[in-house]
Structures are given as structure tokens and as C-alpha cells.
């Protein structure tokens, strides 16, 4: 019973951490961020970066706990190979795929700039797909989904709203008027040689 409780708890904690990670990531470049000064962009960036390894640890713990649970019907094969689980193969496969997507997204961001111009940003957009897969995994794989459903609905709706408004919203002009032109800023060196 303990591995199942541990696996379920770590899974929920991992999902909430992933929600925070996604929300802070969306807010980093959201057009509406210029309307509010708090939290500061550097804080948002740091929280986003710190939540990434936390989410990974929680999710890996979730997988290990459920693999070790003899009654869960997942096993090592089900955990690593999509469709290899005897318990709800599709739902577990979504979780496995989302872990792979998340690992690729996290690894490319962590290695950005280390070896040449690694195109981490296009890969980072897979994070949306990973979140959708995790959301579906949570709803379809959880044996207590009815209890958790309000959490999934609220977090899913908030993430969808954040994603859509980030794509569709236009930034408010008022804060931009306050923003000094780059040419007037002593703290931002203008490009000189690059456009010769």
C-alpha cells in the first residue's frame, strides 16, 4: 500500500509542480506581464528554472514508486515503453511520453549555449504538448480521478487561458510609453558594429 500512496502523492505533487513550471514559463513572455511589476521578471525566471528539476525529481519518484508497487500493474516495461503497461496502457503511455518530452525540453534548455547555438527554443515549445499529455495522463490513469477532477479542471483551464492569451493578446501600450527608448538608455549599449 505504501508504494501506491507514495506514487499517487508524488504524482499529484509532480503535476502541481509542472503546473507552476508551465504557468511561470507562460508568464515569462506574456504580453500582459508589462502591466504588473510583481513578481519581477528575474524572480519569474528563477522560479521557472527551479521548478524544472523539482518537477523532474517528483515525477521520477512517482514512476519508481509505481514500478515498485506489485499491484499497480505498471512494471519497468510499462514505465519506459509506451503501451507496455498492463494497467490502462494508453493512459500510462501518455505519462511515459510526457516524461520523455519533458526530459528533452529540460535538457535542451539546461544545455543552451554550451555547444554552439543549440536550438533550444523550438524544442521548448514541446512543453505545451508535454503538459497536455500529463493532464490527460492524470485524468485517465488516476484511480481517484473523481476526487481530483476539480484540480485538473482549474489548472487545465488556467493553463489554456494563459497559453491562448499569450498568443492572442496584444501588449498594453501605456507601460511601453514609460519605457525609455534604447537609444536613451545608458545601461543598454546600442548595436554599432553589427549593422555596418
Amino acid at each position: 500500500m505504501l508504494p501506491w500512496i507514495l506514487g499517487r502523492g508524488l504524482g499529484i505533487a509532480g503535476y502541481l509542480s509542472l503546473f507552476g513550471l508551465t504557468a511561470f514559463g507562460l508568464w515569462l513572455r506574456h504580453p500582459w506581464r508589462i502591466r504588473v511589476s510583481k513578481p519581477a521578471p528575474e524572480t519569474v525566471l528563477r522560479v521557472h528554472a527551479v521548478l524544472a528539476p523539482l518537477t523532474l525529481v517528483l515525477i521520477v519518484g512517482h514512476v519508481i514508486a509505481l514500478v515498485l508497487d506489485r499491484y499497480a500493474g505498471v512494471g519497468w516495461l510499462g514505465a519506459v515503453a509506451p503501451g507496455g503497461s498492463s494497467y490502462r496502457p494508453l493512459a500510462v503511455a501518455l505519462g511515459t511520453l510526457s516524461l520523455y518530452f519533458g526530459a528533452i525540453v529540460g535538457a535542451t534548455a539546461a544545455l543552451a549555449g554550451r555547444w554552439g547555438r543549440l536550438p533550444w527554443l523550438p524544442v521548448h515549445r514541446l512543453a505545451s504538448l508535454a503538459f497536455v499529455a500529463v493532464w490527460l495522463h492524470g485524468i485517465l490513469a488516476g484511480s481517484d480521478t473523481k476526487v481530483m477532477l476539480p484540480i485538473y479542471i482549474v489548472t487545465g483551464a488556467l493553463t489554456l487561458a494563459g497559453w491562448m492569451t499569450r498568443r492572442l493578446a496584444k501588449p498594453s501600450l501605456t507601460p511601453h510609453r514609460e519605457r525609455p527608448a534604447a537609444a536613451d538608455r545608458t545601461d543598454v549599449p546600442m548595436l554599432t558594429a553589427g549593422r555596418r
Partner: protein, 88 residues
């Protein structure tokens, strides 16, 4: 010499600059090199334009390479500005 894609001399002292037209405010430069790059309240970088210390050069170049819009630029600095002596 300004560098976006081409390789810099490994030993050449550099100073950072930002192309504000290209910059999209992703902020990864400030994450990778917070000693010299901070973010303003809109999430755009504020870059310290003084020459980068030799021991920080690799971190600066990593931030340059990591910028997805290639907006962070490393300019080589003439030896006279860094105070380094030039061997004949």
C-alpha cells in the same frame, strides 16, 4: 569585430552588447550570466557594457550562444581599453 555566428579568438577580451530590435525578452542571458546581465521590469536585458573579465569569458560566450534571437553580441575589445599590454 562583432560576433553573432563566427568564432571569436579564444583569448580575445570581449564586451557584451544587446541588439534591442532583435531581443524578445526570453531572459536566458540573465539566467546564464547574472553577474553582468539583469532584466528590467519588462523582462528585457540590461547589459553591463564594460569588458568581461577573462575568467567570466566562457559564461559570457555561453549566454551569447544561448540567445535564441541572436540578440546578445560579443564585441572584441581593443587591448588598450582592457589595459592589457601588447607583446611586440
Amino acid at each position: 569585430m562583432t560576433v553573432r555566428e563566427q568564432r571569436l579568438d579564444d583569448e580575445a577580451p570581449v564586451a557584451l552588447a544587446i541588439d534591442m530590435i532583435r531581443c524578445d525578452g526570453h531572459g536566458i542571458c540573465a539566467w546564464l550570466f547574472p553577474d553582468r546581465i539583469t532584466l528590467d521590469r519588462w523582462g528585457f536585458p540590461l547589459v553591463d557594457r564594460s569588458p568581461v573579465a577573462h575568467e567570466d569569458r566562457n559564461r559570457a560566450m555561453r549566454a551569447v550562444r544561448a540567445c535564441p534571437r541572436a540578440a546578445l553580441i560579443a564585441n572584441t575589445v581593443p587591448a588598450a581599453r582592457t589595459g592589457a599590454t601588447v607583446q611586440p
